[in-house]
Structures are given as C-alpha cells and as structure tokens.
Amino acid sequence: MNDEIFQERIDAEKKIEPKDWMPEDYRKHLIRQISQHAHSEVIGMQPEGNWISRAPSLRAKMILLAKVQDEAGHGLYLYSACETLGVSREKLVKQLHEGKAKYSSIFNYPTLSWADMGAIGWLVDGAAIVNQVSLQRTSYGPYSRGMIRICKEESFHQRQGYEIMAEMAKGTPEQKEMAQDALNRFWWPSIMMFGPQDSDSPRTGNAMKWKIKRQTNDELRQSFIDKTVGQAEVIGLTIPDEDLKWNEQRGHYDFGEMDWEEFWNVVNGNGPCNKQRLDHHKKAHDEGKWVREAAKAYAKKQELAGTN
C-alpha cells in the first residue's frame, strides 16, 4: 500500500523529502549512488592536486586551486544529502576505505602532463555536467538541491579545461601533441563514465521508475558525445574513434565500441591508480585525526568554561 502511494507521488513529480516514507530499496539505491558521487568528487581532487605545484603560471595555479576547492565543496554537499538518509559521514568514509563504496573509475587514471588538466576539465567535468544537469530533476529533494548548487559552479570547471586545450592546440607542435595525447588517453574513459550500456545495467530499471535517474546511461553518453565532437573540431584536435560519424537518420553521432573489459577491470580495482588514490585518502584521513580530536577537545573546553 505504502509502495503504491509512494509511486503515485513519484509519478506526480513530487519530491521525496528525508522524513517521508520511502521503500527500503529506494533509500539503499540513493545511499549507494549519492555516496559514490560524493567520494568521486573528493577522490577527484587528487589527479588535479598533483599539478597545483607545477602549474605553468600563477593564473593557472590560482584557477586550479579554486577548482580543487570546489570539488571538496561538491563532495560536502553530497555527503550532506546522503546523511539525510540516516547514514553518518564517518560511516560513509569508512565504507570508502574498506572498498565497500566505489567512486568514479575515471580518477584511477594518472595525470601525466599539464594537458591532462585540460582534458579533465573539458571531458571529465563535461561528462559530469551532462549527468548532473539531468540529476537536478532527481526525485529525492536533498540530492536535487545539491545538484542545482553543483551545476551552478561546475561550468567554470569545464570552460577552464577547454581553454587549456585550446591554448595548447594552437601552441608549438609539441604542445599540440601533448593536447592530442591527453585527448587520446581521456576520451574513452570519459565516455565510459556514464556506466555500462543500458542492456548491462541491472539497476537502471528501478532508478528510472523511481525517477532517481531521469535519463539512462546510453542517453546521457550520446548527449555528451553530440556536444563534444564539434568542440574538438573547433580547436583542431581529433577524437580517437574511427567509427565516429554523424548519422543523419538518427540525428546523433554514431561511435565505436567501448572496451568493457578495461572498464570492469578498473571498476574492480585494477586500474593504474586505484591503490594510490585510496591509500592517499586513508593517509590524509589518518594524519588529520589529531586535528579533529584537538577541535573536539577545544570545543569541550569552551563548553565547560561557558563560552560556547
């Protein structure tokens, strides 16, 4: 009975709020999806943080710092949304450390050159935007509000990345080669960010029925590819897919087959940087322990003195 009333509310495009009744599987699906999203923002700080001290100019360095700080903020918005479902932030971090919660596989690829900062902003943030714009209409109120806030901040990320790529593409032949190399390495992982094909995505059914997701993996991927092809042409770079061509009949670009073996390999922990990313997060968390303890002790002391 409750399930029927719940589905009616969903079908009527009413948002579900934290205190509302919801099916247990809806709650579980949201916790998994939102925490994975939050962890992705936070782990995503690492490949870019890698280049802060080596940014080629003060301007580039300030921008990259601001962007990495935004990613931290986006992680916090998402942890907040997830906590409204009755799970603590400490528990979410523990699940990440124990490998029970995942994050986007894209961050398990290394960032080898400055051009990778361009490719990440342009392609990785670009793909994230397509996904997040769609999720602004998700049925869970706190998640939807988090997405709206994130989308407002995210377009600067994509534009700064595209600017780096455009600059390098019109630079020296070596610079253009670096930009092309970054595109070659990040293209396929970026389009795989949308997840498995709909036919191999068992959870898509419920997620669509409950309007947690508003578009399927394949729809979002197609939308990203359609937007991006022209952007590559404008800056004179070539997308590394021989099968990529405009399909007049479909009104979309056709594209080649993704390497799903690699995809699952990286998802299952065997990507180039999986261990490094997780180890670094654990180390930072452990090393910050005394700070958290000191802050709590200080608050306690103030409370006893009656000044808090």
């Binding site: 709020e17 205190k19 509302d20 009744w21 601001a66 700080q69 935004d70 903020g73 916090l76 918005y77 907040s80 906590e83 603590s88 932030r89 400490e90 528990k91 523990k94 509000r145 988090g146 806030r149 901040e153 322990k289 958290r292 802050a295 709590k296 200080y298 608050a299 103030q302 808090n308």
Partner: protein, 94 residues
C-alpha cells in the same frame, strides 16, 4: 569508528535587507568553526552578506506526515485572503 561531529544548519542572507535562507549544513565542533566552514562552503562566490548557523539538534520541526492535521486550522478560513471579498464594479486602488 570516530565519533560524529555536530551538524549545523546554515542560513544565508544574500543581500542586506533580504531574509536569511536555508543553504545546507556543515560539520563543526563549535560555533566559530561552524561559521568559518559555512563561509568556505557556501559563499565562495560572494553569495552572502550574513550567515547564521544553528545546531541541527536545536531545530524543532513539524512532522511532514502530520502536516494535514497540523495545518488544518487554516483550511476553512478563506476570509483571511483578500480574494474572498467581492468588490463593487468600478472600485479602484483596493
């Protein structure tokens, strides 16, 4: 597992003269940390001219499942709305 830090709800006044509006929340051990965390998280692009932080546990909320009964008293008092009244034709500025 470590003990959770307190959650503080954050309200931001975007411009002098406007009401404070709920923006989200932050984790913090005390009120100064809560204010500073809120500033870093919610006003990186000049979104605010003033911030309030309130411990989430200090907020009292009505229950959404009881909302019908809770707000029921206002339902049959349409005369509280200006549209309830019939104005003579030709009357202006009222």
């Amino acid at each position: 597992m470590e003990e959770n830090t307190d959650i503080w709800e954050v309200f931001i006044q975007s411009k002098n003269g406007l009401a404070h509006k709920h923006a989200g929340n932050v984790h913090a051990c005390d009120k100064v940390m809560a204010l500073e965390n809120a500033r870093e998280l919610y006003t990186r692009r000049n979104e605010g001219s003033c911030i309030w932080v309130v411990k989430a546990t200090d907020i009292v909320s009505s229950e959404s499942e009881d909302s019908e009964a809770f707000f029921n008293a206002a339902n049959d008092k349409m005369y509280r709305h200006p549209t309830f009244y019939t104005m003579p034709d030709g009357a202006k500025h009222i």
